[in-house]
């Protein structure tokens, strides 16, 4: 039986799944360096990772809720940023979990959600560093 592993970012009760290899580093929100005009940045591997935050509807927000205790440094290799989350775990889903591409009739170009995964009575949103960074940067523009 094949198990699929993801980094599971919990955001206001929503579960956002990313390939484990897309998450480069995890930092504490307390280590965010303030920055004018933004939520700040975290330093890692000699880089400044700009911090972003989403609400339960996965819409960008301009302040950091207290529950966002961690930041996940996400990279495509070419583009990088940090996303605040309440909790970050590694999860493995067995192959009998339902994973479907987001139906085309529900798909908006701007959405970072690529697939839906239903397991143990809960729905998880599957994305990747590429679409998630593109989404966050498009909302920033």
């Amino acid at each position: 039986m094949t198990a699929i592993a993801y980094a599971n970012l919990t955001i206001d009760g929503q579960s956002l799944l990313l390939p484990q290899t897309d998450v480069h580093h995890i930092a504490l929100a307390g280590n965010i360096c303030p920055q004018e005009g933004g939520l700040g940045f975290v330093e890692h591997a000699g880089l400044e990772w700009s911090v972003h935050a989403l609400d339960r509807e996965l819409m960008p927000i301009g302040s950091l809720p207290e529950s966002r205790r961690l930041v996940a440094c996400i990279t495509t290799g070419e583009q990088s940023l940090a996303l605040a989350c309440d909790m970050l775990t590694t999860v493995r889903f067995e192959s009998e979990s339902i994973i479907d591409d987001l139906p085309k009739m529900m798909r908006l170009f701007s959405s970072p959600i690529q697939s839906l995964l239903y397991a143990d009575g809960a729905l998880h949103f599957v994305s990747g560093a590429g679409p998630l960074i593109a989404y966050l940067l498009s909302k920033e523009a």
Partner: protein
């Protein structure tokens, strides 16, 4: 001499009844599990688990009234094909009441209800018949599930075309 065919009448909110062909109504779910999907169209913003799959859940009334109630008490699962001979695809639709079956005679055709005269909605209607004093459209389920309808709806909602995905 008129002939008759069976159809299902589906209630999707007050004054929003429509019909589908008998074979297109696959299952009625009185107690569905509904899960919201963020960043999706307002009329199709949730999914349900069904037979080892996740089906998009359409709120029909919200096609016409974006702020209509989001509540669903019942759900119907509809089947459609994009082309004859292709595998069946499925779509869930929120209903305000359990569906019921009727026999439709082919001499009961009526004019198109006014709401469907809009170019966005016109392709939804395959036929119209009279039932209990009201004109009931027979809906094209494949168009209901199409990206063509999605794109038209979003353009109508003032979303710029480049935010729509193919």
């Amino acid at each position: 001499m008129s002939t008759s065919v069976n159809a299902w009448i589906l209630g999707a909110g007050s004054d929003y009844s429509f019909a589908v062909a008998e074979v297109e109504m696959v299952e009625y779910l009185p107690e569905p599990i509904v899960m919201d999907v963020p960043l999706s169209p307002h009329y199709c913003s949730a999914v349900i688990p069904w037979r080892e799959r996740l089906l998009p859940l359409m709120h029909y009334q919200r096609l016409f009234e974006p702020t209509a109630s989001h509540e669903q008490r019942h759900i119907g699962v509809l089947a459609y094909q994009l082309q004859p001979g292709e595998p069946l695809r499925h779509l869930a639709i929120a209903l305000s009441a359990p569906p019921y079956r009727i026999a439709v005679t082919d001499d009961l055709s009526e004019d198109l209800p006014e709401r469907y005269a809009d170019p966005i909605y016109r392709p939804l209607v395959r036929a119209v018949f009279q039932h209990n004093g009201a004109a009931v459209p027979v809906i094209d389920v494949a168009y209901l599930a199409s990206t063509m309808l999605r794109d038209s709806m979003l353009e109508r909602m003032f979303v710029t075309p480049n935010t729509i995905c193919q």
